[in-house]
Subunit: 363 residues, 2 copies
């Protein structure tokens, strides 16, 4: 299919997707009718998943399915449910992530554990109870996500391969999250760039880009060799988007709303920070380490870190590296065994994601 | 098969099971080779799952499979892997549970988050980082558990039905955990007995008794009507075991090691506590509420709570109720449509579990 007809078809997809999402929670209300204590949580889950995100993952999956020859309509219930499983997975990961990072806001509303905490009112340990409930609700969403993919009507071997990949992506994402947590405890001088790259790939690329594109292609019938080739194409793109994400967050809040530089405040070891450290002279490095190690979430220390990052030239270097990665992906695509139409389709998909995420990242 | 030959066969099962468990982690080492930072965690996961538990769930599953006519040998790789999936599920649930309860010991060794915390040494937030890593490792074990069941070689429709049930049990267990957490925040007077019973059924019976027995029967080829009948038989047994569990923990530590009355110390709303409250006169009730609400984990307040529980006669009442539930299950079994051999097999399975758990519960 041509990339313009793909674009046209994808424009209809978000509405179809939101409908199937709403219907999913209506149809499953009885299954999850665990009584009075659980009921408000079911509504919270519904509200949380339904919050307007970019739906990058379901849209990439649908796009990939069509690019690689899948012939079901975008109105097909099972196809939409497979796309939904990725969004449920995303919600589960966000809920656990937000507990881990003790984040307070998600998609301009309270994070899940904050929702629960607020409803509890003034009881002892409300914050902790909110987090505990959110961990368990994340687990329930995980089960929902897997079961949603399982219960589609794709032929058994395809469905089985899809489930196998899906579960693998969850482990990979978990391993990436472990890297994120553990690197967060280290001094920036002891964090290897290769560890950060590995963390980015495992934690984000796998389930944000690889999972949708591979699942879509797989359900469209792609063989293992081509799936491997597709996977290799995706890695540099995923990394490029992750760098774009870092740069966006940095620019967005720099100087204006420093207390939203959450990565810096949380002690995250981003590539931006690591490259900045590498570029600075010794005295500035020590100062950067000091600012990071105090972990005082105040405007002054974040401001100083920003100054050092700017001075290092890391933003320029990473912008170059990001462009290089997008270029690398383009070259690999050009040399791939995919048809010209398929290459155009993938280009189109990447450029749509790039447009969508240029201002607010991939969440 | 006769119940004596079932007993003989089940005596061989633990060794076969431990072997397949050890092999599983060896064979999967490469799959989870996420680099230096993850490697120690993979060893921790292996050690944690391999800790000598009672393996009630895998053994019940194997027993049920044989009772209901499954013809694979207990040495069959896929049959053992299906049993293993239940133990992996159990480990995932324990790890999240222990984080939620901030427990320090599990099977006479440190809980998972404590293991991680200890290795981190003296860094800021080591306790929190340990918990965060444990949440994610639980997620990874969840994915492992589902994938282990998925990758067995049972016929596709059976495997699919098994996965569907498995995922459902995980949601149920999660809902039970939510009840446990939320009831923990309430005054005992505001906790309904029916909520506690529901919590017990969802949180423990489902994945400890129903999951193994139903999965074993299902993989042996049982039809839906019989599966429903089996499920109904299990509910009173599960509740009886849960009451037995409460009573064991209470007796075990009473007066001797009060600081291990973890349920009381954690503010858990057990049936024992609720029945005690019901039986006490007003002045004692108020005193009980006071002791519970201060939540000071000191010997004196736990001692006072123990005195009030003893005075209430709740232990005797619950012992009666437990016996009544076992009797109810026996009557239902007698009136069931299962063959005499199948009934004997189930009786044997329940009595084995009862023997095994008489001193230390179902963990």
């Amino acid at each position: 299919m041509s990339s313009s007809s793909l674009r046209a078809e994808l424009q209809q997809a978000p509405e179809l997707f939101e409908n199937v999402l709403a219907r999913f929670f209506q149809e499953n209300a009885e299954r999850y009718a665990y009584g009075d204590l659980f009921e408000p949580l079911y509504l919270d889950i519904t509200e949380f998943v339904a919050r307007r995100g970019k739906r990058i993952r379901p849209m990439l999956m649908l796009g990939s399915y069509r690019i690689f020859g899948g012939d079901r309509s975008f109105e097909d219930h099972s196809l939409l449910r497979a796309a939904l499983s990725l969004e449920l997975l995303h919600s589960f990961i966000l809920i656990h992530d937000d507990v881990i990072d003790q984040s307070e806001r998600r998609r301009r509303l309270p994070t899940f554990h904050k929702l629960v905490e607020e409803r509890l009112g003034k009881i002892e340990d409300a914050a902790r109870v909110g987090e505990n409930v959110a961990v368990v609700v994340g687990d329930i969403l995980f089960a929902m996500a897997v079961d949603t993919l399982r219960s589609t009507d794709f032929p058994s071997p395809l469905r089985d391969a899809a489930l196998s990949h899906f579960l693998r992506y969850i482990s990979d994402t978990g391993a990436g999250e472990v890297y994120d947590i553990l690197l967060g405890t280290r001094d920036i001088a002891r964090v290897e760039e290769s560890d950060i790259m590995r963390m980015y790939t495992l934690k984000t690329t796998r389930y944000t880009f690889e999972a949708p594109l591979v699942l879509g292609a797989l359900l469209a019938g792609m063989d293992d060799d081509h799936l491997r080739e597709l996977t290799e194409l995706i890695e540099p793109v995923g990394l490029a988007f992750q760098i774009q994400n870092d740069l966006i967050e940095y620019h967005q809040f720099k100087g204006v709303d420093r207390l939203r530089q959450t990565d810096i405040l949380e002690g995250k070891k981003t590539l931006l920070l690591r490259v900045a450290y590498d570029q600075l002279v010794d005295v500035d490095r020590s100062f950067l380490q000091l600012c990071l190690s105090t972990r005082t979430s105040n405007d002054a220390s974040v401001s100083k870190i920003e100054q050092l990052i700017d001075k290092s030239g890391a933003v320029g270097l990473l912008t170059q590296r990001m462009e290089g990665l997008f270029q690398k992906a383009e070259t690999a695509l050009e040399n791939s065994s995919f048809t010209p139409e398929q290459r155009d389709g993938l280009r189109e998909a990447f450029s749509l994601v790039r447009q969508q995420t240029q201002h607010t990242g991939t969440q």
